[in-house]
Amino acid sequence: MQLTLWTYEGPPHVGAMRIATSMRDVHYVLHAPQGDTYADLLFTMIERQDRRPPVTYTTFQARDLGGSTADLVKTAVAEAYERFKPKALLVGESCTAELIQDQSGSLACGMNLPIPVIPLELPSYSKKENWGAAETFYHVVRALLADQVPPPGTPRPARAEGRRPHANLLGPTVLGFRCRDDVQEIRRLLDLLGIDVNVIAPLGASPDDIRRLPEADFNIDLYPEVSRTTASWLQRNFGMPATRVIPMGVGATRDFIAEVAQLAGIDASAVLAAEQPGVAGFSSSLSRMPWYARSVDSTYLTGKRVFIFGDATHAIAAARIAKEEMGFTVVGLGTYSREFARDVRDAAKLYDVEALISDDYLEVEQAIGAAAPELVLGTQMERHIAKRLGVACAVISIPIHVQDVPARYSPVYGFEGANVIFDTWVHPLVMGLEEHLLQMFRDDFEFHDDAAASHLPAVARDARPAAAPDAVAAAEPVVTAVATPEPVSAAAGEPTWSEDGERELKKIPFFVRGKAKRNTEAFAREHGLATITVETLYDAKAHYGR
């Protein structure tokens, strides 16, 4: 039994729903009690889908148990087939139905429907949503391609002379992160390279499209959490190679182009030449991001402490961007995707941090608090953590909320994706010029501590400690204290703040004050100082540097 307050992933049958809802002409009969239909609202409200997920629930009740629940499955399958006329039918169970063991899949297969019936067995008590999506996608592909698998050892037929290389885009789903736009961006990029897209799946694919998957020359494994299993199966059974690089960020997109060019047997040097790092020109480059990052106004981004948490794919990619393309310092990297824990651990080594592999929201919150980041890149969960801690945040991964499904074109993959990322990550930060002004006018009556950055109204006012001096006091010249010192912290054995030290501390802008306070206290402890004076504060500042 595991105590869970918030969960990053739903149960595996929600992953199956994501696959069914992404596809066309597919229907999913889910053996489930009343209440499980809640999952529909994820699609219609978060993703703003204009149609219901193609899911029929059996809605069994307590009084059906031990008797007619199996009949409910058959009725639901028959009615769903009659009404929706799908070209393939998925049949599975939610957690409760799994316990009553009606074998819905076999029941449905025994009904001799004139379409492929694909039974899904997704263990609800050990697996989660992304695994369920991956497993469902794999079962759909395997079932629909079963009769096309060539004998082992059959060489792949060479591409016809003069035909452009073809690739499948695997893994995009509804309720994924920016899949809708990533797919367009990657398609545009491939077109630029002279590569055609054969099938995009599961997003928008019909069972007929799935049957055409082997016609491509290779697969692009865009979202490994969903498509790695399928890509591996296609590689083993159809000899189709698959990409490994996730094209998120300028550098990764360049690597992706090189990998794709190699798989397609084409020359991509012209495209890559236009996207050299350090190239400042707008005219030759698809990506504005490198120049924006080098523009002097971005100087303030240097070394910003960033904590990254999400699904493995986006977290790993985000860490590389943060370090190499934004000039941030990665102070935390983690994922809730245990299936990809090893990849994240390897990535974390690059940034000298310990990978956080956890789906425990409280543990993540604690880690973020301890790392004292200036920016959190995470899921909607980390957005709430960051809000509570008063730290800037941008969302980079599912689970998402409705505001993370923007109306505008906003991919995160490819060169345009890098542009979008630059904007998205910079906006929540106090802007460089504003930070400069806050420093200059920190004691001004209009710019004092309580006058928050104009674009951060709620966060700055609510989340900060209420220790700020009032405007008049702050505007008064600092006089050396003669009154009894009032310690900030009076815990036993802890250094205490002298009044002048505390007053000086308050002059430090709020967004770095917490860090300054912690550093100074640590410094005082290390040096056995009982009282923190103005001098201690500056000694600590010199000791730690920025």
């Binding site: 149960p11 889908q49 008590y125």
Partner: protein, 427 residues
């Protein structure tokens, strides 16, 4: 549409009313009783709700809570894993462990609800016994209660009914006369009613549930119950079994419902009519004036209510009689005649009532009727909007203060808003 005539219609004659009821069975697009936690934990400020269930349960409560994400909420899920199911871990020991560690971290919690779910019921995990066992260790610091919010037994608002019913055995006995208002009400509404009862000379008045689970009201033969929510039937039956009597009244929605509801208590307390009129007249006048603003926008509009919160029948009565809406179909997850007899008597004789749900057939009827406004759950709202049908999310009716005189116009406005929005938009 074409198969409308295929619908198995069960027409039953009910005593006290000859309204036909269409009973259906099939897919239900309704939350389960776990969802009640979302408002119950806001009301009971010292309580923690621990669902004993699956990841699905956790995901459901979290999704229903929507944006109400708090850093450390007062609800959570003890997720059953393979180890619990395979008997490798003793589920009872595991549950005790989870509860104790939870309470160690949250010393402010005074009441812990163990909430049963579909999986916990199917594996027959006895939460009532678990609560007894934990009470032996934890009382008086924390009281542990248990109830079922499972989808195989409860629908949406029945979760509140079961939660409240769990209190009944521990309610102290009293012979003192009192009015007990039954059903979760927002604090602001509770305070309004308290003032009104005081002005009417009615008292002592207690609200059940109160704001703290610690403060359990007493019950006895001189307790008269005034029902604030139509879905607490089991609780009401348990309270009457302890001697309480029910004051028959419609529910306090709209001016008419609120007046009749207050009057039922006033009669029982023998408040003189002149006093009743003097107290209510200004409130009625103010509420009517506020409603008048919205009436023209709702009058004559055709309303279809899908089954969801059990509030459908009282709300249909309000919208029909006070706002002039025409009722196409009023669905309810289940029809508890005892709880809505006063309401049914106020519905127009030609109303179509439906009980239970066969979602696809009901949506066929919605599409055939093309009502001006459809009240439905969140899973259906956008798809129906995409078909050109205006919708009102029913969940908002459960989360918003809608009872009493001063919320009557807010209630009407909830139905006006989707229509008004469509009129504004030119895109």
């Amino acid at each position: 549409m074409s198969n409308l005539h295929d619908i198995p219609v069960v027409l039953s004659q009910r005593s006290g009313s000859d309204l036909p009821v269409l009973r259906e069975r099939g897919q239900r697009e309704v939350f389960c009783g776990l969802t009640g936690i979302v408002w119950l934990h806001r009301k009971l400020q010292d309580a923690f709700f621990l669902v004993v269930g699956s990841r699905t349960c956790a995901h459901l409560v979290q999704s229903a809570a929507g944006v109400m994400i708090f850093a450390e909420p007062r609800f959570g899920t003890a997720i059953l894993t393979d180890r619990d199911l395979a008997g490798i871990a003793d589920a009872n020991d595991e549950l005790d462990r989870v509860c104790i560690s939870l309470l160690e971290r949250r010393p402010e919690i005074k009441a812990l609800f163990l909430v049963g779910s579909c999986p916990s019921e199917v594996i027959k995990l006895d939460l009532a016994r678990a609560a007894e066992r934990l009470n032996e260790r934890l009382l008086p610091r924390v009281r542990v209660l248990s109830y079922s919010g499972s989808g195989i037994e409860t629908t949406f608002t029945q979760g509140e009914d079961n939660a409240l019913k769990a209190f009944v055995p521990i309610m102290p006995q009293t012979d003192a006369r009192q009015l007990l208002v039954v059903g979760c009400l927002p604090d602001v509404v509770e305070d309004q009613f308290r003032r009104q009862f005081e002005q009417l000379g009615i008292g002592p008045v207690n609200f059940f549930p109160g704001r703290r689970a610690e403060d359990v009201p007493s019950i006895g033969p001189n307790t008269q119950l005034l029902l604030a929510q139509p879905f607490n039937g089991e609780t009401v039956r348990a309270l009457t079994a302890r001697g309480a009597t029910v004051l028959a009244a419609p529910y306090p929605f709209g001016v008419e419902g609120t007046t009749a509801w207050l009057r039922a208590a006033a009669r029982a307390w023998q408040t003189p009519d002149t006093q009743f009129d003097a107290v209510t007249a200004p409130l009625i006048k103010r509420a009517r004036a506020a409603l008048e603003r919205y009436r023209p926008q709702l009058a004559g509009k055709r309303l279809f209510m899908l089954p969801d919160s059990q509030l459908e029948i009282p709300l249909a009565r309000f919208l029909n009689r006070e706002m002039g809406m025409a009722l196409v179909e009023v669905g309810t997850p289940y029809l508890d005649r005892q709880m809505v007899s006063e309401e049914l008597a106020l519905l127009p004789p030609d109303v179509v009532l439906s009980e239970g749900q066969h979602l696809e057939r009901q949506l066929d009827r919605v599409r055939a009727a093309r009502p001006d406004l459809t009240v439905c759950g969140l899973g259906l709202a956008n798809p129906l909007e995409a078909e050109g049908l205006a919708t009102k999310w029913s969940i908002e009716l459960v989360f918003s203060p809608i009872h009493g005189y001063d919320q009557a116009a807010d209630l009407a406005e909830l139905f006006v808003r989707p229509l008004a929005r469509r009129e504004r938009l030119a895109v």
